[in-house]
Symmetry: D2
Subunit: 296 residues, 4 copies
């Protein structure tokens, strides 16, 4: 049994605390929301841990994570370990590791996949950092990851940053997978050749090449709302897809599927497109083609 | 000076009659709209022409063109010539040529580009069919095409169907060109780094790599409506883009730009996307991500 | 226990015979390859079946399937049933059903997914046709489909053609899914931030959002060849992806991911691209940019 | 007549000096290549100019431009003016302007289009910076820009950075335009329905919707090499396309055409694709589909 601090008890962190405790570990959580926090401040949380301490950071990527790491750099001591389990950009990890390294504090980055299902099923984990630190934190990883062979739900991806890099690419792939199912769904809906679209998709869950966990979730969604018409086709994106495309640019790797999936999300959030107004205007200019005027 | 029949006096045919007459040719037009027609029926039009006759067909592609050609097959005689100047699919040309060939009537297909500006500027022409028939109709082509060297506004693309094939690809390219300008316009509008977007686009008309007639038309459109916000980003497509993509499929040629331009038009006409509802539903299933419910 | 004829004992048909026999059914197979055939001719096969007969056709799509169905129309009798389990285009099904219907013979189309793994795991099935015929053939479908709830590996998609339509869309989605993983793999390989790419991908098998059967197969492939450098990046396509894109065109549905996946396959088979030669030529023309001459 | 310093006498700078001198302006050039330089050092060049001085920088974007600007900051004096005419990223301009502003030196960024043809035809110019500085440098801009109305070959796009921003988007559009023509060319070549592809493309130069300067250049290239088979389909990219796509990401603007054009260039430079090896491996795993082994 190990002891750890856990900063950030939102949707993900809260569930992870549950799973860690269920595995018998001691978790001292801290969150600004007193209703869920086990400690009154970051300093209070640290004071409740025995050295050498391990603190898992599970706060929003970017500023919040960098600030939390900087504060932990002040509060922790040589020999302690910080694990960033959030969705940080891999370029933040080098910075965070350096900040802590100056104080003799270790750093691991851990990409975490699994969403709200992770509490029950376990989380897929991708870790970056020194081998010995990874070994030291393995009881925590083992508690968080799914049952089954460790190497099927956990990987030590490489040195600092590699864990978040792997998670970033994981999410880029995820964008592509979701869009592929979505295009198929729209085609089935539009063509009306298949009479029972939800039945067909449910029937893809076993034996087919396209079976997957995402497909199982699509079946769940269709069970609740067979034409998915209770909701709007409005889709946010949360950073990793953009970063994946930036990496494709940096490494001159074509990524037509991942970019198409990202652009489809961008387009889903526009009320009207100035690009398409330009195309409409051009067609009108050369061909006298009718245009739709606003308000018509 | 030559004499010809002209079937179809819509936006394109009407202007072409003007241009042909301005060049000194004799045109007997026929249109169901009596207000613009020079004859009371197709038969009446044919009767007013001296053998060997030439009839230019300028009616909507597909059924209307095929039916007009079939009727001309009944009305015309051996040695006559039919030119289809509409936007027929190239596969229709083989059929039309055979129907007429059985009666000894010649057939040419002619792709016509230039829109409403052709009356003034001349039309870009791409012709398919036998060399001797092309030569025979050259006075007509010369009257319709722009001033300047013949080979810069006219081509004999190959045998029957090649003219419309060339026009189809021309239009596929046109889709891509328009979308490229449109994406650039949207980026300029969105980023707001450039303060005077219409001035920048106007300034691209001379000296730059992107100067083109389409750019000139975009400048015209922006002169009339600097943010193009009088109209909606709703864009029709008229067949050739789809056919071009089908040809890409048939010949296993990647056409990412032309397909992206076509899909952008499809997307511009959807109120909501079932594909994106599926993506939203999936994100909600695995991550508990918020969705927009209809009516919220 | 039921009895059926099975035409076509290639990779798929051979395995299906095994699975059907393992389930206790009587299968009379016919294949032009005598080494695997249970009968000397299609007629011989039919003669060995008791009326009302059921014949499963598992031959290449297009001409071979249409011809086999036509021959069965001659050999079978009223009340018999033909099931096309091949990869026919859904538009062929209407034709095949009519040919047989004229003789009082029933017809079902069945999309079959699962590849070489189906013999062991069962095949995902999507069926089109009349409900009573589907019920009649259910023992066969039950033997072929995977264990577990019937509705998770089998669907009655709609009337004739709907089974193959569902399978076509299934394969279109499959193209997109595969390309999404492939782009992620290429990015991981190119960036070299992740040091152990196969370990990361193996670690995605449990708990992550991207877990799927295709991912499991990618892990298998990487186990055998960790950089996949024993083989060339040359990928065929077998029709369904093209048909899916044609359906997207027909129904004006944007399909950027599926088309990108198809185009990536097209591009993988080109030695050199005339499109990119044109771009190189243009850059050279306006900018004096260096080009690679052949043989340099 | 004005006097200016010109740093960088490569392909672009050399031609611009010619054009400026032909317009009667006095140009003191500096280049590390003594054979073309009018001065022995940057300091020597500056010493030959009368205050208030104007120096045009025409060196490679990134480090070289930033360093040249920094050195000019040391050498120039309050009231002088630096114009960056290179292909700098717009984000560099803010930095460069600040460096110079600290010394009271003015700064303008000027996107320049037109390639090797600019010497003869004039260059399309897009300028960012203060209005009064733009006015002061107008004689230079007027000499460099094409004949005709100023606003058709020159724009004051906005404040510092806006000129390079406009040029970046210009080049992103250019990528899309070139790829659109290229896809059309490949389709014409592949389908072989059009017998004389160069004649068709030449015939698009007048009257058609797709006429443009790039089309004229394609005609030139085809005149020299009708099948473009003297060169390889290998295409570099020089930054602006990537930056445009990064801006699309930053502003959540879909850019499917520009990204497709960029990815086509990336793909043109790969000998083999690990992505497509992954797809081939997957197909082999599930379907037993044949793969091409290396060396086969």
């Amino acid at each position: 049994m190990v002891q750890l601090g856990l900063v950030g008890l939102g949707r993900m962190g809260f569930n992870m605390r549950e799973r860690l405790r269920a595995a018998g570990h001691e978790v001292v959580g801290y969150d600004r929301n007193e209703a869920v926090s086990d400690s009154t401040s970051l300093a209070d949380m640290v004071s409740k841990l025995d050295a050498p301490r391990t603190v898992w950071v599970m706060v929003p990527a970017g500023g919040p994570t960098r600030e939390t790491v900087a504060q932990l750099g002040e509060l922790l001591a040589e020999g302690d370990l910080v694990i960033d389990g959030g969705n940080s950009r891999f370029t933040d990890d080098t910075h965070n590791a350096e900040v802590l390294s100056a104080k003799g504090i270790g750093y691991l980055d851990c990409g975490v996949s699994g969403g709200v299902w992770g509490k029950e099923n376990g989380y897929g984990l991708m870790v970056g950092g020194d081998k010995e630190l990874v070994e030291r934190a393995m009881p925590i990883f083992d508690a968080l990851r799914p049952d089954g062979p460790r190497e099927e739900g956990f990987s030590h991806a490489g040195s600092v940053g590699a864990g978040h890099y792997a998670k970033m690419i994981h999410n880029g792939i995820e964008y592509g997978l979701m869009q592929a199912y979505a295009e198929g769904f729209e085609l089935l809906e539009a063509a009306k050749v298949v009479e029972d679209v939800p039945a067909v998709i449910k029937g893809w869950q076993r034996g087919t090449v396209v079976r997957s966990w995402l497909l199982d979730l699509l079946v769940r969604a269709l069970d609740e709302d067979p034409e998915l018409d209770d909701l709007e086709g409005y889709v946010e994106d949360s950073g990793e897809g953009r970063w994946t495309l930036e990496e494709a640019i940096n490494h001159a790797v074509p990524a037509p599927v991942i970019s198409a999936a990202l652009f489809a999300r961008f387009a889903s959030r526009r009320k009207d497109s100035s690009a398409m107004r330009a195309v409409a205007a051009l067609r009108n200019q050369f061909g006298g083609h009718a245009v739709k005027k606003v308000g018509e």
